[in-house]
Assembly symmetry: C2
Homo-oligomer: 323 residues x 2
């Protein structure tokens, strides 16, 4: 029975969540896939922090070259986040013949064509289910189960921070700044919430969805974008009177001439629309396609274990030989 | 470039929908998978009917043995429906080394262990995404993208006929018999609606979901079941007053002792619950699992092209070498 060696770069939320799932569900996964696996390395800038979070100290290193040059390492999981050194590490791993899994929507959206091409040139897998919608199997559905279709439209609530804030504003008649503070106190928003509340995070995810659904790469910075920071209590009240909810929607449609129209902005959703039921930290993506029609996927868009579930789902696919 | 030969048994709704997708989207699928494919046979009891529905007459046969003995046929799609000869054909195909894809929930639920074991013994694929939730990628998600998880709960609206009837009763203050007649006139219910309205179709689907989620096979006839035929206008009115909707829910939960508790019955769903937004012919499945938490999948549970999309998704998986 083959034993796959998996290196985890970074031991923050997703890195430690991935590690935890590989431990906790080790036996059931091994039986399901008919192969064994082990974490071979944990790359951490602060080894003592990684150890406090639960990493086996024998696996911890702060030298990435040690990982890329280790011929026994089969798969690298990039959980550092941000653009660099994440991009460099991903390319290095691929050039050393290692498969790559990552939840890092920013690095993928900024470098989609380069990363995809590098994986193809080196004959390795490049999987990133966790980069859009956390644990929701949205990318796998697009690429695999729904591969008989041509997609025509995407509508998503793909950021849990903003969805939490808007839900709290609507449910509890709160101002934006009060709801933001609540989100921060509850761990649903960062100390610097800009990337979330201004829709930058949404743009990264929409860029990835469009690349996969429409075979069209639009850099995230080219997507017209309005966040939620200007929404007032009056806006929420007016929406209630009109029997709609305000949601931050990421939208893209493939036009008849083959071009793509896309935007991200607060949008009125009728109260009886399925997206109106997607609240707080939940995410949802609605797809329209020529054969299956409309489908919707709902789940937790963030968190150590939900996102780790998507990362490990990708690891399982690779260990089963499905790139 | 390999050319896969696909035989379609039966040319009703799903058989013809599958055939149509393989024609219409032939080029885009071929590019996506890097392999070619062709329908080699269409098995039809009434060849002239199949031809009228669009089957190439050169492919039509009424002799199943011709298909099973054809060494060039790689994959058999069973679209006859019912228990026999569907079961016999599936086993014959597998014993002749052919992969099998089917939307037939009745034959799978009645023979789950025998069919699964025969596929394993003969080293062939046995895929049936279309058997639960039509085009919704629910089984692929359970078996693949969510394979890092242990599932604990299933709640589904998995029958479009009954969901359509209940939606019309609630939205338009109709009696059950009036709503049933409307469903029949609109093509959402059969002339003999028993299997749908009494929850038998749900039982087949729940049996399959439990087998895959809990690794526990419960024959459909052993699932406690109440259909919708006794629901009155008063029931609907009382539900509205309580701010709930009546939905036919198929439910299963894995208990701490490893046993499974399951039932199918009309259930009160709070108006703000995500399942309350799933109306008319739409289906939905909610799963709860240890790592990803709660996920929901929504889409069209029936129809030639939605169901055909799931069948062709399975064909694509097989042609990509993923059993």
């Amino acid at each position: 029975m083959k034993t796959f060696k998996i290196a985890i770069l970074g031991f923050g939320t997703v890195g430690s969540g991935t590690y935890e799932i590989l431990q906790t569900n080790h036996d059931v996964i091994r039986k399901r896939i008919g192969a064994d696996f082990a974490v071979s390395h944990v790359l951490a800038r602060h080894p003592e922090k990684a150890e406090m979070r639960g990493a086996n100290p024998a696996l911890i290193t702060s030298d990435p070259a040690e990982i890329f040059q280790d011929e026994e390492t089969d798969i690298v999981v990039e959980c550092i986040g941000g653009l660099e050194p994440a991009k460099t590490y991903i390319l290095e791993a691929m050039r050393h013949g290692k498969h790559v899994v990552t939840p890092n929507k920013a690095v993928i959206a900024a470098n989609f064509e380069e990363l995809t091409e590098c994986a193809r040139e080196n004959g390795v897998a490049f999987r990133y289910e966790a980069s859009v919608g956390g644990g929701i199997p949205i990318l796998t559905s697009i690429n695999e189960a729904l591969a008989a279709n041509n997609f025509t439209r995407i509508d998503g609530i793909v950021n849990g921070t903003t969805n939490y804030i808007l839900t709290q504003m609507a449910d509890n008649d709160l101002s934006y700044s009060t709801a933001l503070k609540m989100a921060q106190d509850s761990g649903f928003a960062e100390a610097n919430p800009t990337a979330d509340v201004e829709g930058i995070d949404c743009a990264n995810k929409l860029s990835i969805l469009m690349a996969l659904c429409f075979d069209t790469y639009i850099p995230p910075q080219d997507i017209p974008r309005t966040g939620i920071s200007a929404i007032t209590k009056d806006d929420i009240r007016e929406a209630k009177e009109k029997k709609v909810l305000l949601k931050l929607i990421s939208h893209a449609v493939l036009l008849d001439d083959g071009t793509v129209d896309c935007w991200i902005r607060p949008t009125e959703i009728p109260q009886d629309h399925p997206l109106a039921c997607v609240n707080n930290e939940f995410n949802a993506v609605v797809l329209d396609a020529d054969m299956v029609g409309e489908t919707m996927f709902v789940g937790k868009g963030a968190g150590a274990l939900p996102t780790g579930s998507a990362v490990v789902g990708d690891l399982i696919a690779i260990m089963r030989g499905r790139f």
